[in-house]
C-alpha cells in the first residue's frame, strides 16, 4: 500500500485547496495517515518496506508543517498557481517597512520599561492582530485572482514571523535575567 505522491498537500489530507483551514480536520487526517504509514507499523517488515515508510511519513510530516503555518500555506497555494519565489524576493513597501521598524524599536524600548514582560505581552498581541489582518487581506487578493498582490503579502508575512521570533526570544531572555 503506497501513498500517491502526485496529490497536492491539500488533497493528501482530503482538504479543499484553499487558504481557510479546518485545523481539526487537518490534525485528524494527519493522524489517520500517520497511523497507516508510520515506520513503527512496519517494525516487523523488510528493510525496503521500512525505508518506504520513512519516506512516506517524511512527506506527510512535511505536508502537515506546510499547511499548519499560514505563511507556508499561502506560499504553497501560490506555488500551485505557478507563482515563482526567489531567494532574494522581498517587499519594497516603505510604509510597511517603516511600521515594522517602529515595532522593533518599541520592542527594544520595552526592555527598559518598568514592567517589560507586560509590555512585551501587549506587543506580542499587537503583532498577532496585524498578522491576522494580513492573512485575511491575502485571502482577498487570492480570491480576486490578484496574484502579484498575494505574493507581496506572503513576503510581508515573513517579516511578521521574524518579529514574532524576536518577541519570543526577548521574552525568554528577560525571564532568564529575572531568574539569574
Amino acid at each position: 500500500m503506497s501513498l500517491d505522491f502526485k496529490q497536492n498537500y491539500f488533497e493528501l489530507f482530503s482538504l479543499p485547496t484553499q487558504f481557510p483551514l479546518d485545523k481539526q480536520q487537518l490534525a485528524h487526517n494527519f493522524r489517520a495517515l500517520q497511523a497507516q504509514y508510520h515506520p513503527d507499523r512496519f517494525a516487523q517488515a523488510s528493510d525496503q518496506e521500512r525505508r518506504v515508510a520513512v519516506q512516506t511519513t517524511g512527506y506527510i510530516n512535511e505536508a502537515n508543517e506546510a499547511l499548519k503555518s499560514p505563511r507556508l500555506r499561502a506560499h504553497y497555494l501560490l506555488e500551485l498557481q505557478n507563482v515563482v519565489f526567489k531567494q532574494c524576493d522581498t517587499t519594497h513597501d516603505m510604509p510597511f517597512l517603516m511600521q515594522l521598524m517602529e515595532q522593533r524599536e518599541a520592542l527594544e524600548a520595552a526592555e527598559q520599561s518598568n514592567d517589560p514582560l507586560e509590555v512585551m505581552d501587549q506587543l506580542a498581541k499587537k503583532v498577532k492582530q496585524d498578522k491576522q489582518l494580513l492573512e485575511s487581506s491575502f485571502q482577498l487578493s487570492l480570491q480576486t485572482g490578484n496574484l502579484v498582490d498575494a505574493k507581496e503579502k506572503v513576503l510581508k508575512m515573513k517579516f511578521y514571523e521574524r518579529l514574532d521570533h524576536e518577541v519570543r526570544r526577548l521574552q525568554e531572555k528577560l525571564e532568564d535575567e529575572m531568574f539569574a
Partner: protein, 623 residues
C-alpha cells in the same frame, strides 16, 4: 470466533505466536528491563530479586567483566577499571573530553580514532562497549526470566539526545546482540506507562512529563489523541537534578556543625551521604534526625522548602518555556506525569501541582515508569497487539542546518519538528565556474558555524562550470523515526549526486546542548553583530570580485594608468578594512570604493551600449 486469520504480507505471523520483547531504560546511574506478561508490564528482577541494575561495569586483568551491584561495590577500590558514567560519554568525541575528562576519574587512551577510549587493565574500552555490557546483562536477565530469545527491544533515550548519542545507543545495542525496534524518548515512555491513551475521552488532551533525575531535569509537552502521542516540545536543564538538593542540605549541615574549621574530603563525603539520606527520609516523614560525627540535629520539610525554592523555580521556568514552545496554555494540561527518583520529594510534588493547578500522577514508581512504558511499546512493535491504535510521534530536539557562505548557518529543519521528516532546499554557486561545493551539516540553535555542533561535512564534485548563481544544488535532509539523519546533495541541471549517512563519531554533551539553546537566546545580540560583520565581509568580497572581474575584462582599455592606480588604492583600503572586526568600517569602505569606481562603472556602461549598438541598424532603436 474467527475460523481463519488473514494477515497482511510482511505482517504475517504464525497464529498465537507471542514474540518476546522488552523495554530497556538505559540510565546514567541505574538501568532496568521490563516486559509485558499477560497484559501487564512489569520490571524484571535479578536472581536476588533486585530490579535496579547499577549502570556500572568493572574490567579485570583476567578478562572477567562484572556488571551492576558487584561492580559498584568495587568502584572505590578499583576506580580506574570500574566505569560508572558511560551514558555521559556515549556519542562523545575525543574533542569533548577536554570538558568531560576533569569530571571523570578515568584515564583516556591516546587514540587516533574519533571515539574516546578509557584505559583499563583489560584494554582500551569505549562507552559504547560499556553500555553494551549493561545491555547484555539485561538481555540475559530478560531471556532467563521469559524463557526464550528476545525478538526485539525498545530502548529509551533522553529527549535531548542528539543524533550522535542516539546512534551510539543503537551501536551499543547491536554490540549486545539486540534488535532495536525503536529508540523512544523517556518522557513519551512515561506517558505510555500511565496508559493515558486508554482513557474513555476521545478528545485530544495535553500531558506534561516532569522528569527530575539525579543530575538532569527534563520537561516534555505531549499531545494525545486516539492513541497517537505527539511530542510538542521538550526542554529542561542538563545541569540540575536531585544531587543539587542533596548539596543544599549538605551546605546547611556544614553551617550547623562547624563553621570555623575546614572539612576533609572524607568528612564532606560523609555529610553528603547523610544529606541524601535526610532528603529521602523527608519523602516519608516531616522531620528527620540528622547525625554527623558527634553532632546531632533535626531537619524538617519546612526548613527544606526555602533552601531549595530557587532550584524548584528553575524547573518551573523550563516548564513555562516548553509550554510556550508548544503554544499551550498551562490550564490546557490535563495530566502531569512524574518521572525520576527526585520527584518523590513532597516539595517537588506540591510546587509542580500548584504550577499546573493539577495534582501530578505519582502512583507508578518514578524509577520504573520509563522502563514500563518502553515495555508496552515494545509489545506493540513486536506485533503482539495488532488491534492497538497506539502510535508515538517524536520531534527532533535541536535544529539542523547547513553552513552558508561566510560561516552563517541556515536552518533547514527547526527543532520540535515531527519526525520522520525529509526536507529539501535549493542552493546555488557563489563564484563563476565553481565546480565543487562543500555541504557542512550542523546541529544547534545559534547563527554561526563555530557555535553549533558540526555533524558531517562532504563535498559535491563535478558541478559543470557555470556563472555564479546558475547551478541548482538541491540538498535534502532526511531524519528517520529514531532521530537519525541522512543528507543528500544533487545538482539539478546535471544530476550529479552525493550523499552521506550522518554517523558522527561523537556528540554533544547534554550541558552543551543546554548551553547552546540558552546561548542562542542570551547571545541573540552578539549573534546579530557577528552576522552583520559576516554580511559586510561577504559584501566586501563580492564588491572586490566584481571590480577584479571588470578590471581584468576592460580595465586597461577604459582606464588611464593613473585611474587604475586610484582604483587600486581604494581596493587596498577595502581589503584592509576587512581585517577589522567592525561591520560599520567595512560598510563605509565598500561605499568609498563604490564611489571611487563610479566613473568606471559609467564608462563601462557607455562602452557596453556602444558595443551592443555596433552593427545594429538604427531602425531597431527607433521605437
Amino acid at each position: 470466533m474467527a475460523l481463519l486469520q488473514i494477515s497482511e504480507p510482511g505482517m504475517s505471523t504464525a497464529p498465537h505466536e507471542h514474540r518476546l520483547a522488552a523495554g530497556i531504560d538505559l540510565g546514567t546511574t541505574n538501568s532496568l528491563v521490563a516486559t509485558v506478561r499477560s497484559g501487564d508490564a512489569t520490571t524484571l528482577a535479578d536472581q536476588k530479586g533486585v530490579h535496579l541494575l547499577p549502570s556500572v561495569v568493572r574490567y579485570q586483568a583476567d578478562g572477567v567483566i562484572t556488571v551492576g551491584q558487584a561492580a559498584k561495590v568495587a568502584e572505590i577500590d578499583d576506580l580506574q577499571n570500574t566505569i560508572g558514567s558511560a551514558k555521559r560519554l556515549l556519542g562523545r568525541g575525543v574533542s569533548d573530553l577536554k570538558t568531560l575528562a576533569g569530571q571523570l576519574p578515568y584515564q583516556f587512551a591516546d587514540t587516533e580514532a574519533a571515539v574516546p577510549k578509557i584505559r583499563t587493565i583489560a584494554g582500551d574500552i569505549s562507552a559504547i562497549e560499556v553500555s553494551a555490557e549493561i545491555l547484555k546483562t539485561l538481555k540475559i536477565r530478560a531471556e532467563a526470566s521469559l524463557g526464550g530469545d528476545l525478538k526485539g527491544v525498545v530502548i529509551t533515550v533522553p529527549a535531548y539526545f542528539d543524533d550522535a548519542q542516539r546512534q551510539a545507543t543503537k551501536d551499543a545495542a547491536r554490540l549486545a546482540g539486540l534488535k532495536v525496534y525503536r529508540l523512544l524518548n523517556e518522557p513519551t515512555a512515561a506517558a505510555v506507562a500511565y496508559g493515558l491513551d486508554q482513557g474513555e475521552a476521545l478528545d485530544e488532551k495535553i500531558i506534561a512529563v516532569y522528569d527530575l533525575g539525579g543530575g538532569t531535569f527534563d520537561i516534555s509537552i505531549l499531545r494525545l489523541n486516539r492513541g497517537v502521542f505527539e511530542v510538542l516540545a521538550t526542554g529542561g536543564d542538563s545541569a540540575l537534578g536531585g544531587d543539587d538538593f542533596d548539596h543544599a542540605i549538605a551546605e546547611w549541615i556544614v553551617q550547623q556543625v562547624d563553621q570555623s574549621t575546614a572539612h576533609t574530603p572524607k568528612q564532606l563525603r560523609e555529610i553528603l551521604v547523610e544529606a541524601r539520606r535526610v532528603k529521602e527520609a523527608l519523602s516519608h516523614t516531616d522531620v528527620v534526625a540528622v547525625t554527623v560525627g558527634h553532632w546531632q540535629g533535626s531537619f524538617s520539610n519546612e526548613q527544606f522548602m526555602p533552601l531549595v525554592a530557587n532550584l524548584v523555580k528553575k524547573t518551573l521556568f523550563a516548564c513555562r518555556r516548553a509550554l510556550r514552545d508548544a503554544d499551550i496554555d498551562k490550564d490546557e494540561v490535563a495530566d502531569v506525569v512524574m518521572v525520576g527518583g527526585s520527584t518523590r520529594m513532597p516539595v517537588i510534588r506540591e510546587r509542580v501541582g500548584d504550577f499546573f493547578n493539577n495534582p501530578p500522577l505519582v502512583n507508578i514508581d518514578p524509577d520504573k515508569v520509563v522502563a514500563i512504558g518502553a515495555a508496552l511499546q515494545a509489545d506493540v512493535l513486536a506485533g503482539n497487539k495488532p488491534d492497538t491504535e497506539m502510535l508515538l510521534l517524536d520531534v527532533i530536539p535541536l535544529s539542523l542546518g547547513l553552513e552558508m557562505y561566510g560561516g552563517l548557518v541556515e536552518k533547514i529543519i527547526a527543532r520540535n519538528t515531527t519526525i520522520p521528516i525529509s526536507r529539501a532546499q535549493e542552493f546555488t554557486t557563489f563564484k563563476d565556474s565553481q565546480t565543487a561545493m562543500t555541504v557542512h551539516v550542523l546541529q544547534g540553535e545559534r547563527e554561526t558555524v563555530e557555535e553549533n555542533r558540526s555533524l558531517a561535512k562532504f563535498a559535491l564534485h563535478d558541478i559543470p562550470p557555470m556563472v555564479a548563481g546558475a547551478a541548482r544544488i538541491k540538498v535534502t535532509f532526511q531524519v528517520d523515526a529514531d532521530g537519525l539523519l541522512n543528507v543528500m546533495a544533487e545538482e539539478k541541471t546535471t544530476g550529479v549526486k552525493s550523499s552521506i549517512a550522518v554517523k558522527p563519531s561523537y556528540g554533544l554533551t547534554d550541558a552543551e546542548i543546554e548551553t547552546m539553546i540558552k546561548d542562542s537566546m542570551l547571545n541573540a545580540k552578539a549573534d546579530r553583530e557577528t552576522r552583520k560583520l559576516r554580511e559586510q565581509q561577504v559584501e566586501a568580497d563580492r564588491t572586490l570580485a566584481a571590480l577584479d572581474a571588470a578590471l581584468a575584462c576592460d580595465g586597461e582599455v577604459l582606464l588611464s594608468t593613473e585611474e587604475q592606480h586610484t582604483l587600486q588604492r581604494a581596493r587596498d583600503a577595502l581589503v584592509a578594512s576587512k581585517q577589522l572586526d567592525t561591520a560599520e568600517v567595512i560598510k563605509t569602505a565598500i561605499k568609498t570604493m563604490e564611489a571611487a569606481a563610479e566613473f568606471y562603472v559609467a564608462r563601462r556602461m557607455d562602452s557596453n551600449i556602444r558595443t551592443a549598438m555596433a552593427g545594429q541598424s538604427i531602425n531597431k532603436f527607433k521605437d
